[in-house]
Amino acid sequence: MKHTISVIVENKPGVLQRVAGLFSRRGFNIDSLAVGTTEKPDISRMTIVVDGDEQTLEQITKQLHKQIDILKVFDLPYEQAVERELALIKVHANDKTRGEITQIVDIFKAKIVDVSEDSVIIEVSAEKEKVESMQKLLEKFGIQELVRTGKIALQRGSGK
């Protein structure tokens, strides 16, 4: 089962290594990990998508909590969170296919951010599943390159 956890950390050297090291040495699976600073410059937020049962999730949370530089760890259940992932997708495009690609881009409320003679770069920001279905639809045109940020998430409403 996939879980999204938010990890609030002090922005100190080595903290990313601590988290990554902990996951690898305890055999926890990371699906994706996104890090960036928060509203406070000395605090960063990591959004980690992990795969595991309840017990594994509990261990991950507790082990993360033990790290001195980690301030808060919390699970973000899907219904309580706004989740997004950003992807840049470079797809083959020519005069024949550009129209159809543009249609798909519109349906997904995505954007074309670069156009060249034989390709376009599409920017999409959506829930992970949407990004994935868009990717699928674009496959037939030939995806040249693709990059995804991994999921980021915030709790809805006034919660932390």
Binding site: G14, Q63, K66
Partner: protein, 558 residues
């Protein structure tokens, strides 16, 4: 007060109550050693290998309960500390290790004797620091000691760049720490404690399973009171030896792979297991799904991550063992005679399956341990190496006080015992300190004989010399059809001569009737170490033995 970073480091140590540290100098820590030359009130013990310094700091910590401190230079000095840091980490021992690092301008350039010490030690420390600014030194030292000694204790590394040792700062030692991400929970939750009461109340066959956490939290007195008040038998882990007196009628002694049969039977039969400062390690539980199959579990631990890590718990109580035991003692009432039938059953097991060995004309290692117990009146500090020697020392000496058993439980580090004994002897100068050793292990840090001789430490090194890497040989005998691959030590050097070459005393004992006399003689030697080379039966095995992966009641008894 204006001080260099190096001077500030030493001043900070003094503010933390440090009066002794173990170390070895080198280029990138020279400013600190230079400051050490002039400083007052700090004793530095020069070991002969950095690994020895780390184990000595660890042994000092275990014997005294204080934070042990060791120091080394960058690169190879620091990497030589690694085994010692990992050893302390696995056993939750409070330690601060200080290492020199190349100057900040040289960091990341593969400079001479540069090693990524914070990277290397990250998985084996509670926390670590790379200090690039002298001004950070007082705060970091303060934090390091706080982290090392509070909550679940553990080692902290402070890696200090050379220029940070040299720069001048205006020294002021902070009086508090500000660590928003570190707030160990010490007080047990009242609701959980109440739930524990209920469970204790309905149990008919309870067992207490006490680990090193009881010693770390100085809760031996409370454990005794709790066990007596509730009339519940107590088994300890290897790390918990000394947390409960082996001589007590409620004592089941050690459980697990080489535990007593009656401890293992009691755990397998009990209907309530009260784990206190223990972590359900595989050497304790054997085959996990069959461990204590009939029991409800209460788990008391200061580290929330230990709860539910290996085993499902019915009542978890996160907090300090001492505090929680006090809460339990204050309210628990057990009706008289409630556990009599259970204790009778246990008494029967004790009678039927005692710890025993063959008593004949041969010089058997178990007998030597019994004699060490006898001549020291059970009052010695027993350090051990790793292997059969360690297990016999655990089984046949009667531990009655905390901090008298010093052994590498979690990592199982050969070569630990002797330097740890050095640290213990410095911490407890009046105590009789033994290192129970194997012929293999003692050769892993034998160079520390020079340290012990230099400081006139009257440590007794009792080598149970079986000319084998005995424990590995035992596994090969039982699990690999006697294929003794690379475990024969028949070309051991003359250990008595080695001791003498260092200026220590040495004795060789080959017969049963020489043992007591030799030990008494050794006890008279007060001005230097004494190595006793006991030539024991070569193919003796440690029993009981639960083969790995088996249920703990499926043990081989002999």
């Amino acid at each position: 007060m204006e001080l260099t970073g190096a001077e500030a480091l030493l001043e900070s140590l003094k503010h933390e109550g440090v009066d002794i540290l173990f170390g070895y100098p080198g280029g990138q820590i020279l400013p600190v050693y230079d400051a050490l030359y002039k400083v007052k009130g700090l004793k530095h013990i020069l070991t002969r290998h950095e690994q020895g310094a780390a184990h000595a700091a660890d042994g000092y910590a275990r014997a005294t309960g204080k934070v042990g401190v060791c120091m080394a230079t960058s690169g190879p000095g620091a990497t030589n500390l690694v085994t010692g840091i990992a050893t302390a980490y696995m056993d939750s021992i409070p330690m601060v290790a200080i290492t020199g690092q190349v100057g900040t301008a040289f960091l990341g350039k593969d400079s001479f004797q540069e090693a990524d010490v914070t990277g290397i030690t990250q998985p084996i420390t509670k926390h670590n620091y790379l200090v690039k600014n002298a001004a950070d030194i007082p705060r970091i030292v303060k934090e390091a000691f706080h982290i090392a000694r509070t909550g679940r204790p553990g080692p902290v590394v402070i890696d200090v760049a050379k220029d940070a040792q040299v720069h001048k700062i205006d020294f002021k030692y902070p009086d508090s720490v500000d660590l928003p991400g570190y707030k160990p929970n010490l007080k047990g939750h009242p609701r959980q404690i109440k739930a524990a009461f209920k469970m204790i109340d309905i149990a008919r066959k309870p067992v207490i399973y006490a680990g090193g956490g009881v010693i770390a939290s100085n809760a031996a007195k409370e454990l005794l009171e709790f066990a007596e008040k509730c009339n519940i038998p107590v088994t300890t882990t290897l790390m918990g030896l000394g947390a409960f007196p082996d001589t007590h009628k409620l004592s089941l002694h050690m459980l697990g792979m080489h535990g007593t049969a009656y401890a293992n039977y009691a755990v397998q039969e009990c209907d309530l297991l009260i784990a206190i400062g223990a972590r359900f390690d595989d050497r304790v539980t054997g085959h996990l799904p069959t461990f204590a199959p009939k029991a409800k579990h209460i788990h008391i631990d200061v580290d929330p991550a230990e709860i539910g890590k290996n085993i499902k718990v019915d009542v978890p109580i996160v907090g300090d063992a001492k505090q929680i035991l006090k809460d339990l003692i204050a309210k628990v009432e057990i009706e008289k005679g409630k556990h009599d039938a259970w204790l009778e059953q246990i008494a029967e097991w004790k009678k039927k399956f005692p710890l025993t060995y063959k008593k004949d004309k041969e010089l058997r290692p178990q007998y030597i341990i019994e004699m060490i117990d006898e001549v020291t009146g059970g009052e010695a500090i027993i350090c051990t190496e790793v292997g059969q020697n360690q297990m016999w020392a655990a089984q046949y000496y009667k531990y009655t006080k905390p901090r008298t058993w010093i052994s590498s439980g979690g990592l199982g580090t050969m070569g630990y015992g002797f330097p740890a004994a050095i640290g213990a002897q410095f911490g407890r100068p009046d105590a009789i300190v033994f290192d129970i050793a194997g012929d293999g292990s003692i050769q892993m840090n034998i160079q520390e004989m020079a340290t012990a001789v230099n400081h006139k430490l009257p440590i007794k090194i009792a080598v149970l010399n079986n000319c084998y890497l005995g424990m590995v040989r035992q596994w090969q005998e039982i699990l690999y059809e006697k294929r003794y691959s690379q475990t024969d030590m028949c070309d051991n050097p003359d250990l008595v001569k080695i001791a003498e070459a260092y200026g220590a005393a040495g004795m060789r004992i080959t017969k049963v009737d020489e043992v007591k006399k030799a030990l008494n003689e050794a006890l008279k030697i007060k001005d230097r170490p004494c190595l006793l080379d006991f030539r024991v039966t070569k193919e003796e095995n440690v029993f009981p033995f639960v083969p790995p992966g088996q249920a703990i009641n499926e043990m081989l008894i002999d």
